[in-house]
């Protein structure tokens, strides 16, 4: 496709032009806290260099809190209503490939399963992904050990590469091509194209972990010793799953305000005791070991069997957020080593 170059000084103008026809979601710096995904109006200072965001890109597709419907119970006025979903095309700018890949994982669950999730699907179908190539992986990153970045890059609409003063914008899809338009875009020079390719190769050359290239799905075993070790340390918080770009489980709750009942879904995690606790008190996963195992096996085995996609993109958020330093890379290494 027709790759373009845009000067960093023009980025803001480009985004402002996108805002005219799209809802634009971008990393917005917040005082006193990490940058967050927010809808921008074209005037804010957005931070494409924010790097990997604390909250994954699923934030937009699966908001922390998503109203499913409202029911008015007032006598004679009973009415069940679905909230309006966005009808404008939406562009998400600045997400990393790991997050973009995670959206493919979410697509499999929410779009390809037997039932299609209307809330997710409506947002997803209108969503274009403008991803950025990582130039400075974090200590916790391991994307190259769980996936093929060339393959992942096909899942976005535009791929941006930081070249210093300029940004190299490569449209991947037709949708992407529509976005990379405007007088501020120029054709890249040969040198720029070369630099872009180097950045890409550099990223792919990131040191690999022992489990890279192994068939993790086959190595994840129900009886592995690592489950006991994890369970001992795990505190059962939800930080890993809440931040995971591909974790997709949710809870459904009702709120009653006067006569209005609102049903919403919100984030939930298989790491909470309550997750599988049934009304009568029975819990099929009462022990922490069962819950930690479930999360890993779901990502690396069940999701593969169901949708032929691994539910982990090596973003490293779970590693950074785990208060007891349970490192997914160590877990996978142990699983692979045990199998060998």
């Amino acid at each position: 496709m027709s790759d373009k170059i845009i000067a960093k000084t023009d980025l803001r103008q480009w985004l402002a032009s996108l805002v005219a026809g799209n809802d634009v979601i971008a990393p917005l710096g917040r005082e006193g806290g990490p940058a967050q995904w927010k809808a921008i109006d074209g005037n804010q200072e957005i931070d494409l260099g924010a790097g990997q965001m604390v909250m994954a890109a699923k934030e937009y597709l699966l908001p922390v809190h998503d109203v499913l419907w409202r029911y008015e119970t007032k006598k004679g006025e009973e009415k069940l209503e679905q909230p309006e979903l966005p009808d404008r095309p939406t562009v998400m700018v600045g997400l990393r490939l790991c997050d973009a890949r995670a959206i493919s994982v979410l697509d499999s669950v929410y779009m390809d399963g037997r039932f299609r999730d209307p809330y997710y699907a409506t947002r997803r179908e209108k969503l274009a992904l403008v991803a950025t190539v990582c130039d400075d992986p974090r200590w916790s990153c391991f994307c190259t050990s769980v996936g093929d970045l060339d393959e992942w890059a096909k899942g976005v609409d535009v791929l941006l590469t930081d070249l210093g003063d300029n940004v190299y914008a490569a449209p991947v899809t037709e949708k992407g091509k529509q976005l990379v338009q405007g007088s501020f875009f120029k054709d890249p020079t040969e040198d720029q194209t070369k630099k872009k390719a180097e950045a890409w190769e550099k990223l792919k050359a990131m040191p690999k972990k022992p489990f890279a290239g192994k068939n993790i799905t086959e190595n994840v075993s129900w009886d592995a010793a690592i489950w006991d070790d994890m369970a001992k340390r795990c505190l059962g918080c939800g930080a890993c799953s809440y931040q995971c770009p591909s974790c997709s489980c949710f809870d459904i709750q009702d709120i009653t305000t006067g006569s209005l009942v609102e049903r919403y879904r919100c984030r939930d995690t298989c790491q909470f005791t309550d997750f599988t606790l049934m009304g009568a008190g029975h819990n099929p996963r009462p022990e922490k070991k069962m819950r930690t195992r479930q999360r890993v096996m779901h990502k690396f085995k069940y999701q593969m069997e169901q949708f032929n996609i691994i539910g982990c993109t090596g973003c490293g958020r779970c590693i950074e957020s785990c208060p007891v330093n349970i490192d997914m890379r160590d877990v996978l290494t142990a699983l692979v080593e045990q199998a060998d």
């Binding site: 499913l68 419907w69 029911y71 119970t73 009973e78 069940l80 679905q82 669950v109 929410y110 399963g113 037997r114 039932f115 999730d117 209307p118 809330y119 129900w222 997709s248 489980c249 949710f250 809870d251 459904i252 709750q253 009702d254 009653t256 009942v261 049903r263 879904r265 939930d268 298989c270 997750f275 599988t276 606790l277 049934m278 009304g279 009568a280 008190g281 099929p284 996963r285 069962m290 479930q294 096996m297 779901h298 085995k301 069940y302 069997e305 169901q306």
Partner: protein, 285 residues
């Protein structure tokens, strides 16, 4: 199997999270802690065309209290209404128990798979149920009875803790008319003249022959465990034995992740499983 009911469900529910409004037409007090609700959809067109398969489940909303999963205890052969039986255990079931006739509930249905009754044609069917476990089997039992000619011998063993804990007593006569009904209780009372003892033991006494026979069992885990052992002893193979699994569910459509066991979701791959299928699953039950 018949046409893909999931396709029908999708047509019936363009947004699977939006419940259909239904009126509670009748409430039957089964036992001290269990009630059966008969609900009728408000939408007349839906009431006419609504269809489901025996063994499928539904999500029932009590507005404000939340939603809960119940199997359809009525048989699709009996049109115009749906039924579900509720044991009072938690917040939603308590709210349901407090409803009176005429109340409006939300129903999302039908979900999940069903008993492969077509494959059972020409075979004998034994239903082995305990307590509230009779609720999902009532649907398929009544279905088989309404298609009586398709099946061989139909027998039911139904047990409960006490005579007062037996549900659906008002249908016993009907069940006895065209099939065999064997009742047992763990502890009788003054008026109880029937058998006293556990279901698995009764099963051994009655000793159904495995040839050309299907066994369906549902009830408390401990009962299923021993019923299964005994069926094996009688010569039943895993694939001849069916049950319906209970697991916490929220969405009912394979998204929320709660009822995930291995690569299956109980809500879309189940709740009906044969024991050879269950054997393939991780041992979480």
């Amino acid at each position: 199997m018949s046409t893909d009911i999931h396709e029908i469900t999708k047509q019936q529910m363009p947004n699977p999270y939006m419940p259909h409004l239904a009126v509670v037409e009748k409430i039957i007090e089964e036992t001290w802690d269990t009630k059966t609700f008969r609900a009728v959809f408000q939408d007349e067109e839906l009431r006419e065309k609504f269809t489901y398969e025996p063994g499928q489940f539904q999500e029932v909303s009590v507005f404000g209290a939340g939603e809960c999963t119940f199997c359809l205890t009525s048989s699709p052969t009996r049109k115009g209404y749906i039924e579900f039986s509720v044991k009072r255990v938690g917040v939603v079931t308590k709210a349901l128990h407090e409803l009176s006739e005429g109340a409006i509930v939300g129903i999302r249905a039908p979900f999940g798979n069903w008993f492969p009754y077509n494959e059972w044609k020409g075979k004998n069917v034994w239903f082995i149920g305990g307590g509230i476990g009779m609720a999902p089997m009532r649907s398929i039992l009544n279905y088989c009875l309404d298609n009586r000619g398709d099946y061989g011998e139909i027998s039911t063993i139904y047990g409960a803790r006490t005579p007062g804990d037996l549900c659906f007593t008002y249908e016993f006569d009907e069940w006895r008319k065209n099939s065999a009904l064997h009742l047992t209780v763990d502890a009788g009372d003054d008026s109880w003249t029937g058998r006293v003892g556990h279901v698995p033991g009764y099963l051994m006494e009655l000793a159904p022959k495995p040839e050309n026979t299907i066994a369906v069992t549902c009830g408390p885990p401990i009962m299923i465990k021993f019923a299964l052992q005994n069926l094996k002893e009688l010569g039943f193979e895993d694939k001849q034995i069916f049950t319906t699994l209970e697991m916490k569910m929220k969405c009912g459509i394979g998204k929320c992740g709660r009822c995930n066991i291995g690569s299956k979701f109980v809500c879309i791959d189940g709740p009906v499983f044969s024991f050879d299928q269950i054997k393939e699953l991780p041992p979480e039950f």
